[in-house]
């Protein structure tokens, strides 16, 4: 045995564990002949004694009885729950977070899915909301575009403008005083939300709509569809 091999065994030798009898005998014989390894074994034994002393100083230590009482109480509360709920509680928190993330992704994918041509044609329904009286368009300041060079826009295929549909609850017959009308583009599918007819085969396009913004709060109060956006 050389010093390197002895060094690998010296800890187990000092602790009285590990090496087989033959290895132990060889190590002991080596220590008798090598002064360095001999003192190394002495030191390891000394260290073992110190660690043993430290271990004995905490040998009888244990958690105080109040911890056991609290835990038994917690156990009773936990197992008083219906088993289904207990099962859910047993799942780690990341499982819930993961499930929520998956649900979010699936929901987003469903919402943003491209329109398919196989959907059954929607039947035009009556407006699902009551029309609201809105002041004539000139009364409300339309968002002005300053004198900019006019770009030649493709001609709109005009469709008849619808009536205004309220976006917030309003009293019957109430008028929106003041406000701003802004023109926006919306997916054609949005027509179906207002019970308006649209061709599902042609649902990928956009329609233009005018939204009445409340003069005080800036909230969108009503909407009407004015034409098809090309």
């Amino acid at each position: 045995m050389n010093c390197g091999e002895f060094e690998a065994l010296v800890g187990d030798l000092a602790r009285g564990r590990g090496p087989e009898e033959s290895a132990r005998r060889a190590a002991t014989a080596h220590a008798r002949e090598c002064a360095g390894c001999s003192s190394r074994l002495v030191e390891e034994r000394e260290l073992e004694g110190l660690l043993g002393l430290f271990a004995s100083s905490v040998a009888g230590k244990a958690a105080p009885p109040k911890v056991e009482a609290a835990l038994l109480d917690a156990f009773a509360r936990q197992y008083a729950l219906p088993s289904v709920r207990r099962h859910w509680l047993a799942f780690p928190r990341w499982a819930f977070v993961g499930a929520a993330a998956v649900a979010l992704v699936v929901g987003a994918a469903w919402f943003l899915r491209p329109p398919t041509g196989v959907a059954p044609p929607l039947v035009a329904r009556r407006p699902i909301v009551a029309p609201v009286a809105v002041p004539e368009a000139p009364a409300a300041p339309v968002v002005q575009r300053a004198a900019q060079p006019r770009l030649k826009r493709p001609p709109h295929r005009q469709v008849a403008a619808t009536q205004f549909y309220p976006l917030t609850p309003v009293d019957a017959g109430a008028q929106i005083q003041g406000g701003t009308i802004v023109r926006i583009g919306m997916p054609r599918r949005a027509l179906a939300s207002f019970g308006l007819p649209f061709d599902p085969d042609d649902s990928g396009g956009a329609v233009e709509a005018e939204v009445v913004l409340d003069g005080d709060t800036g909230m969108a109060r009503a909407i009407r569809f004015v034409g098809r956006r090309q």
Partner: protein, 202 residues
């Protein structure tokens, strides 16, 4: 009848007790707690030097067992490894918190009810304790489990979630560090000389 029940709990393995506990057996939980709490407590105490933290760790470990005992998979190791794994996480977190809050970072003094009366002995224990607490956490863990809790390297490896070889090498390195701190300089010199193969007598 009661005696029979106690005998049953004494002879049941940790896994069996846990299985019964998960199905709502309070006595099985109590038996498992009584069997394992002291080891977990001492592990946390020797790792942190704080009795308050050790108490918290025991509470957290067994609360986790109550809440998530059903997730224990015997294929991943024994129940003790599961318990020490949880304890280890809480201890590391507690040590981190104590390190950030400077007031709590010093180890607590020995308890007043400590049976040691001999001053020299108490001083020796205090110096060993300080030396163990000064070890980096990954070395301290193996010293506490293998040297102080007397686990073998395989059990310690399961508790720490690492290879047996890793435990052995960490233990060897940790003992060298402790020897450097605790033993007189002459002895330390001899330690360094001892690993030189050139001085070896073949």
């Amino acid at each position: 009848m009661l005696y029979e029940g106690l005998m049953q709990e004494d002879s049941a393995s940790d896994g069996e007790l846990l299985e019964r506990m998960v199905s709502g057996d309070r006595e099985a939980f109590a038996a498992l707690y009584r069997r394992r709490q002291a080891g977990v407590y001492r592990f946390a105490l020797q790792m942190s030097g704080s009795e308050a933290l050790a108490e918290d760790v025991v509470q957290e470990v067994f609360l986790t067992l109550v809440r998530a005992g059903a997730t224990y998979d015997p294929a991943c190791g024994p129940v003790t490894a599961f318990l020490y794994g949880i304890a280890r996480n809480h201890v590391r977190r507690g040590i981190g918190r104590a390190r950030r809050g400077s007031a709590d970072s010093a180890p607590e003094p020995l308890a007043a009810d400590q049976p040691e009366t001999d001053l020299a002995r108490r001083e020796t224990i205090a110096s060993v304790r300080a030396a163990v607490l000064a070890l980096p956490v990954r070395y301290r863990e193996v010293v506490v489990l293998c040297e102080l809790e007397e686990m073998d390297c395989r059990e310690a490896a399961e508790a720490l979630g690492c290879a047996v070889g890793t435990v052995k090498s960490r233990l060897h390195r940790a003992r060298r560090m402790l020897a450097g701190r605790l033993l007189p300089p002459g002895a330390t010199l001899a330690v360094s000389r001892a690993i030189r193969p050139a001085r070896c007598v073949p």
